[in-house]
């Protein structure tokens, strides 16, 4: 049959025809596709037809049919060539399952996470190869089983979709091989100069392997320089030690021995300032644990500017400006007889009171500690060392003093900002050919006057190993993706020098490599992290190295590697610097949740309420009430804050207990690059700060921009000008609302706090009163107060408010354990945060100035109380009422009681009427107002159709080979709740059930202490105790019977299963008497 192939009506059209048609098109034309160019029905059919040029299979002759079949079989075989032609499918079942693996049961691996270089031992909970939670390693000296919120939240960083994924060369995707080749070329060129053009910049390094590798590198290139910059490091402490002793040493405190502690701006309970804070917190709490009538309480005096965790639990607290701390230190030192020390107490600090403090210190010398923090200048550290030395030598009674010294834990101790300054100078001088930055973000967090960004541009080749593409990466030619600590082999020292082995619990999700692997590459001998770490430690493992190595991996730390104490010799009192002391002082502090900004892309930490301010998603210019009043500023006012000629736009936050004439700003905010959560306040297109985004989504302001080399911790002459911005700025989860005036009536018993002496002396009286209340309650009750009886365990919890330091570790633990979503600032502003556990902060006036010492009085009675109030922490979550008001009001029975006393939420049954929350007197129920936990793109948190806001950090399109990364962090034992569902604390029912299964398998009862709730586990001070209250010998039952134990809102008749234990304070009786005498006479009782 004759066919003209150009005749379309035949239904046949082949490529020849197209070529002709295309060839016929003259001139310059653009087309988007061939289809557009040759858009004919026949072409469409050609495209869609599986067998072109054959209208049906019937037209195929036998030979062609066999050809097609042969081809099909061959193509089918290609599926076996994965990784050759097809992408590798990594989801494979265990062909050979790891030993001890039971599906659905987690495995725990000991590892470590670091913060500012210092390691904390952790146990990684891993489900089928997927790490989901970090818990403290109970055997580890820096953890003791607890873990701070920043370390816990690092699990979320692992699954951060914004992580650096590929090796990038000038903005193009490259490979490690190409990088190694390129860097070797550059290094070879340096060989001749002995590496004079090579600079290495790291953070604080405690890793022996890394230090060893850097040592080798420096040996290879002797003229190269290693710089260290840690924006929130311990440089001042080392420099101070050098001043006092002539050499840098690490200082260690033993709070178990401490009877009297004086904090000179030393927030030793704060993980962001003291690497050993978890251990310190445990020891401090143990030193004031009271059970029944017995127990002794240490006494804590705090001088600090911004109320911190330490100040919040101090028995006496004086708000002083950061620059005034040295005067206090000098005064105390002079009274203690430290040679050469002088000091005049600042205004507002009574000399009589401080004399009493000094007497207290002297009386318990050897068991007293004076501690100062990283925000104080080296001289104060030196002076503190001198004070401690004086106190230790005063009696000589104590064999091992409460303060000890070791060689520096860090491998390369640098003082302050000199190192980064030198690096910047070298860069500006053009002498740097190759800059290797292992981590860090100096463009963002280096002192503003160093102008590191400008300097970096001068580097000929800049290499940045980083977890996220941040401000610094943006200026670097090579960006290398860094592995997460859960993906790599490594080692690091804890605060006391103990060496931890970091082992991976998941294969790297991206192309990342660890710092030591990169260093090995630089040395020209690329090796895996395992080999590098093993090579460091195997020789040091004694007679049976393999056994020792395995034990170290199993335990997570190498035994007996604590740094040995040294005696640094006599401490000299330094010459204290003089400060200009003019104008408004500005104090820079690391952020209690996002640290120096390295956790800015972590939604859990962004939404974690900062301990004192309860702010989320933002930092603020924090002022005392009277300073704000004198400047004419109100809460939440947008201001221009200038210091040293630089200005940022900030929001005011008025903080009772803050020092006057001082403004505190937290570092870490105002990010312009580094991930979608970190940069919520900036326009993603332009990278510019956007007031509207800031108002809605947070992101804060960059306080580092006001920080200079000479004013790293605090500065003078800050200026505040009101701005024209009319923004509703801050999202605080508690207080600072028109309703909050801290009105706690005397009749209310939500909070109980007493001084220790008052508690003991009024114990019987109070017990009698309580008994009367009970009796009255029983008598007035219409119905017999009986609950379901069951001969089995009855779960209950006690919270000892006396030891709670408000550190938030429990909040993050709960979030990680129970798949609690992040909701974003705009939702927090609407009070829709989802944390099951909150730490309520209450202010009260000191007992000495109360009318009736047995009650909490409201500040309005005594205006002075608002300036420096006492602070009480009250962790609050579902108290599992035996007679729960939420249960009868649910129309569908979605919240019901278990026979073991749990108030249970049945998510599947919940229809979301929210009546239960209304009827909950504790307000501990949380509602999914929107689809907070789902990552589906269809459901964002837009509350208006025209806005395109997304939950920060929630992935909206499948990236990363189709895996929605953030979902991987979810705990498979806990239901992920959808929209419209009520949720609340379950007492970690999944852990209860797990223990029940285990006990049934063994045919026994559940053991005391077998169930540990997530909050209890994370708590560094053992504030939370969970267990069976039906078992009279259990710890929880004993705590419940403690005379301090009370049931919050018991008068409502809810019969909570969680009881709180009253807070005790241990003020100095002398100071107490002085203050009582000086207190303003109470106003007339209101009519």
């Amino acid at each position: 049959m004759e066919t003209n192939e150009n005749m379309p009506e035949k239904g046949h059209l082949d490529l020849e025809a197209f070529r002709e048609k295309v060839a016929g098109q003259g001139g310059k034309k653009y087309w988007r596709s061939l289809e557009e160019l040759a858009d004919t029905p026949q072409f469409q059919q050609f495209l869609e037809d599986e067998f072109p040029n054959r209208s049906t299979l019937m037209q195929i002759n036998r030979r062609d049919m066999l050809k097609f079949m042969g081809a099909s079989i061959a193509l089918a075989g290609l599926a076996g060539c994965r990784s050759v032609f097809l992408p590798v499918d990594k989801i494979v079942p265990y062909v050979k399952a790891p030993e001890e693996l039971v599906y659905g049961k987690p495995l725990y691996y000991a590892s470590a996470v670091t913060l500012g270089g210092y390691a904390t031992g952790v146990l990684v909970e891993q489900h089928e190869g997927r790490p989901i939670k970090l818990e403290g390693n109970p055997d580890h000296p820096a953890s003791l089983g607890a873990l701070d919120s920043m370390s816990q939240a690092q699990i979320l960083n692992l699954y951060d979709p914004d992580r650096a994924e590929n090796v990038m060369d000038q903005g193009n995707i490259s490979t490690w091989e190409l990088f190694n080749a390129a860097v070797q070329t550059a290094l070879t060129a340096q060989k001749a100069k002995k590496g004079a053009g090579v600079r290495l910049l790291t953070g604080a390094v405690t890793s022996p392997t890394q230090a060893g590798l850097i040592g080798k590198f420096m040996a290879m290139y002797p003229a190269a320089k290693w710089h260290v910059y840690e924006p929130a490091g311990l440089g001042n402490a080392f420099e101070g030690a050098a001043l006092a002793f002539g050499k840098p040493v690490s200082t260690h405190y033993d709070f178990t021995k401490a009877k009297v502690i004086v904090s000179l701006d030393g927030d030793f309970l704060n993980p962001a300032e003291f690497p050993g804070s978890l251990k310190y917190a445990r020891d401090f709490a143990d030193g004031r644990r009271v059970q029944g009538k017995s127990g002794t309480m240490n006494r804590l005096y705090a001088f600090e500017s911004m109320p911190g965790l330490t100040g919040s639990v101090a028995d006496h607290r004086w708000p002083v400006k950061p620059s005034e701390v040295q005067s206090v230190a000098g005064y105390i030192a002079s009274k203690l007889g430290v040679a050469g020390a002088t000091g005049v107490l600042p205004k507002g600090v009574s000399a009589t009171e401080v004399d009493l403090l000094v007497k207290d210190l002297k009386d318990s010398s050897g068991a007293s500690i004076v501690v100062t923090g990283p925000n104080q200048p080296p001289q104060v550290h030196a002076l503190t060392n001198a004070i401690n030395a004086a106190l230790t030598t005063m009696t000589g009674k104590i064999q091992i003093p409460a303060v000890s010294y070791t060689e520096p834990i860090e491998a390369n101790v640098v003082a302050g900002t000199h190192s980064i300054q030198h690096l910047a100078d070298d860069l500006k001088g053009g002498g740097v050919d190759l800059l290797l930055m292992l981590g860090g973000n100096p463009v963002y967090d280096a002192p503003a006057d160093v102008m590191f960004g400008d300097a970096l541009a001068k580097a000929k080749v800049a290499v940045h190993l980083t977890s996220h593409e941040n401000e610094t990466s943006a200026a670097c030619g090579w960006i290398l993706p860094q592995t997460h600590e859960l993906e790599e082999w490594g080692d690091a020292r804890a605060f006391d020098g103990t060496v931890n082995i970091i082992q991976p619990t998941i294969a790297p999700l991206f192309e990342g490599r660890s710092a030591i692997e990169v260093l090995a590459g630089l040395l020209g001998s690329p090796a895996g992290g395992y080999d590098l770490v093993r090579a460091t430690w195997l020789p040091k493992m004694g007679v049976e190295p393999e056994k020792g190595w395995r034990k170290a991996i199993h335990d997570g730390w190498v035994a007996n590697t604590q740094a040995a104490p040294v005696s640094p010799g006599a401490a000299k009192a330094p010459v204290l610097p003089t400060f200009p002391n003019t104008g408004l002082e500005i104090s820079f502090r690391t952020d209690p949740t996002i640290y120096d900004g390295r956790f800015a892309n972590n939604g859990w930490l962004q939404e974690l309420p900062k301990p004192l301010t309860k702010l989320t998603w933002d930092n603020a210019a924090i002022l005392s009430p009277s300073t704000a009043a004198s400047l004419g500023l109100l809460q939440d006012e947008v201001i221009h804050l200038s210091h040293g000629g630089r200005t940022v736009v900030a929001t005011t936050f008025i903080m009772p207990g803050h020092s006057n004439d001082c403004v505190t700003v937290n570092l870490g905010y105002g990010r312009t690059r580094g991930g979608s959560v970190a940069c919520v306040g900036t326009d993603p297109e332009t990278g510019e700060w956007d007031p509207k985004r800031w108002e809605d989504d947070g992101g804060g302001f960059n306080a580092s921009a006001l920080r200079t080399t000479h004013n790293m911790c605090f500065g003078f002459g800050a200026e505040i000008k009101k701005s024209d911005y009319q923004l509703d700025g801050l999202a605080s989860t508690q207080g600072h609302s028109p309703l909050d005036d801290s009105r706690i009536h005397d009749e209310r018993d939500v909070i109980r706090d007493f001084t220790y002496t008052n508690f003991i002396s009024h114990l019987d009286e109070r017990a009698k009163k309580d008994e009367e209340h009970h009796k009255e309650f029983e008598e007035n009750n219409l119905f017999p107060d009986k609950v379901f009886e069951w001969d089995g365990p009855q779960w209950g919890m006690t919270i000892d408010m006396n030891t709670c330091i408000g550190c938030n570790a429990c909040v993050t633990a709960c979030q990680a354990e129970n798949n609690i979503p992040v909701v974003g600032k705009v939702q927090v502003k609407k009070h829709r945060e989802m944390h099951w556990l909150r730490i309520d902060r209450y202010y009260s006036e000191p007992e000495a100035v109360r009318e009736d010492p047995n009650t909490i009085a409201s500040p309005e009675r005594n205006p002075l109380a608002g300036e420096n109030p006492d602070i009480t922490w009250q962790p609050m979550m579902c108290v599992h009422c035996e007679s729960a008001p939420c249960e009868p009001v649910c129309p569908v029975g979605a919240t019901v009681h278990s026979h073991e006393g749990l108030n249970q939420m049945v998510y599947n049954r919940c229809v979301g009427t929210r009546y239960c929350s209304n009827n909950c007197p504790y307000r501990v129920r949380r509602y999914n107002f929107l689809n907070f936990s789902d990552n589906q793109p269809n459901f964002s948190i837009n509350t208006t159709p025209w806005s395109q806001r997304k939950i920060p950090g929630v992935l909206h399109e499948p990236k990363h080979q189709g895996i929605e990364l953030l979902k991987m962090v979810n705990n498979p034992d806990v239901t992920v709740r959808g929209r419209g569902i009520m949720e609340k604390c379950s007492y970690c029912v999944q852990r209860i059930n797990d223990a029940r299964i285990e006990s049934k398998k063994d045919g026994r009862e559940i053991r005391e202490g077998e169930i540990v709730t997530a909050c209890q586990q994370a708590c560094p001070t053992k504030t939370i105790i969970f267990g069976n209250i039906a078992d009279e010998n259990s710890a929880v039952a004993k705590m419940r019977k403690d005379p301090r134990s009370y049931l919050v809102l018991e008068e409502v008749g809810t019969r909570p299963r969680t009881s709180h234990l009253a807070k005790l304070r241990n003020p100095n009786p002398g100071i107490e008497a002085l203050r009582r005498a000086a207190a303003p006479q109470p106003m007339e009782e209101k009519a």
Binding site: V889, G912, R979
Partner: protein
């Protein structure tokens, strides 16, 4: 100023049976009677319905988070509007049932549209409890005690459960009552209609009514029975709605005075709404002979009476807050309501519900349509504010001081509220156009009674109310 005489009869003007048919029936039969005001009002209502549709669609798509509800104020506009609408729906049944049983003949000219109001208001109200749930697609049937293989039943102790029964029963009985009353009138219109389609529809609606003695006998009995059924419902519905609050332990909610006080408030709001609707309608359709000033005067008196009960309720709330010595209750009721950040709402409520209705003591204000409209509007606003004061304001701060958080509504709260108002207006105006707005046959009976009896007083009676009686 001399008192304005009030024509003391329930029907004025030269009226015959035919003129009554004409006055009311022509509103249905002669569609030309509906002029610009009708179209304007319908358009207003229809726009509101569109807003409602958008608001509900967006709500179902996104969730409750589009509203301003927060932690701890989990209920706000949703339940405020629910209670408000249910309250408005109270006048109709009260007029139809209780006044029928009390043989108050003046109810005859207002019962029909008051009942229609009830039904539409309950429809508006009914949307809220369902849509305010987080998952309405399951709430729609999980709250019902239907047998299922899982053996899961609703929680019968929950007041929300009782609400489901109370509101659905109320809607059903009101609908039946309304429709039964309409049957003889549909038959009248069927007979009068000249339009074929209209006749067929009316014939179906009149269910074969021929007006035989037997029909009338059955009708009277059934109507009386339904009236007997509805009477307790008038009291029970709002009593049960008040249990949503009274049965809780929330300070400001847990008050035993709530049931009677809510019922009185409902009648109060309901009569205000009846007046707000009746006054413009009788002007628009020239029905002043059937809905006379005397009717308005009676309604104003009931409004005043129920308003005083409500005011007594406010006093008792405060009294109990003090007398119970419950610090939470006292703080909330006295401190927060009187001086808190939302004190304006409370004082406006007192102004609207307590102060302004006192105008009705003076006959001059009961007979002036402007003052009537003013007071009715004030009461309608005041009753909304009352629910606002009770519901979100009690939730904003209760036992735990750390959980005190303010509440602000969003545009969607207002959209949904405005939307239901639009729905109500649209339904009412459709009702005016397609159904007899006044009970024709009862008016005829009334006319018959008035004409057959020797007049007790000379007509037209120029006797001022309250002066000569």
């Amino acid at each position: 100023m001399p008192k304005k005489p009030l024509n003391d009869v329930m029907i004025t003007g030269e009226q015959s049976y035919a003129s009554l048919d004409e006055a009311v029936g022509s509103m249905v039969l002669n569609q030309k009677r509906h002029k610009l005001p009708w179209y304007a009002m319908f358009l207003l209502g229809f726009s509101g319905v569109n807003v409602l549709g958008a608001a509900v669609t967006w709500l179902l798509y996104q969730g409750i988070g589009i509203w301003g509800n927060n932690w701890p104020t989990m209920w706000s506009f949703d339940i405020v509007n629910f209670v408000w609408w249910i309250g408005i729906g109270h006048a109709g049944t009260l007029i139809s049932a209780i006044l029928l049983l009390l043989r108050q003949q003046w109810r005859n000219s207002i019962n029909r549209f008051a009942e229609a109001m009830t039904i539409f208001a309950v429809m508006c109200a009914g949307m809220y409890p369902l849509l305010h749930t987080g998952r309405p697609w399951v709430a729609a049937y999980w709250l019902l005690p239907y047998p299922n293989i899982m053996g899961v039943w609703p929680q019968f102790r929950s007041p929300l459960m009782w609400d489901v029964f109370a509101v659905s029963t109320y809607l059903t009985v009101s609908l039946l009552f309304w429709f039964m009353g309409l049957i003889p009138d549909f038959a009248t219109l069927r007979d009068k209609s000249t339009n074929k389609v209209g006749r067929i529809i009316l014939a179906i609606a009149s269910m074969g009514w021929r007006g035989s003695n037997q029909h009338w006998h059955r009708y009277e009995q059934a109507y009386l029975l339904l009236a007997g059924l509805s009477t307790p419902l008038v009291l029970s519905v709002h009593t049960i709605v008040s249990f949503d609050f009274a049965a809780s332990i929330v300070p400001g909610w847990n008050v035993t005075v709530f049931p009677p006080y809510f019922v009185a408030g409902a009648v109060f709001a309901g009569f205000a709404m009846v007046m707000l609707f009746a006054i413009p309608m009788r002007a628009m359709y020239n029905l002043k002979d059937l809905i006379t000033d005397r009717h308005l005067d009676w309604m104003a008196k009931i409004t005043l009476a129920t308003g005083l009960i409500v005011a007594y309720g406010y006093m008792l709330e405060v009294f109990y807050a003090w007398y119970s010595a419950n610090p939470y209750e006292f703080e909330l009721l006295v401190y927060r309501r009187f001086t808190g950040p939302y004190a304006w709402a409370y004082w406006m409520l007192i102004a609207c519900n307590v102060v302004i209705p006192q105008m009705f003591w003076a006959p001059v204000f009961r007979r002036n349509i402007f003052s009537l409209l003013f007071v009715s509007s004030a009461v309608t606003v005041g009753m909304w504010l009352e629910r606002f004061v009770i519901i979100p304001m009690s939730l904003m701060n209760s036992y735990i001081p750390s959980a005190n958080q303010p509440y602000y509504p969003t545009v969607w709260d207002f959209a949904m509220f405005g939307g239901t108002i639009g729905f109500f207006i649209m339904m009412m105006f459709l009702f005016i156009r397609f159904m007899p707005v006044i009970n024709i046959f009862e008016m005829k009976v009334l006319l018959h009674d008035l004409m057959s009896k020797p007049p007790a007083r000379t007509l037209p009676a120029e006797v001022p109310v309250g002066a000569g009686e």
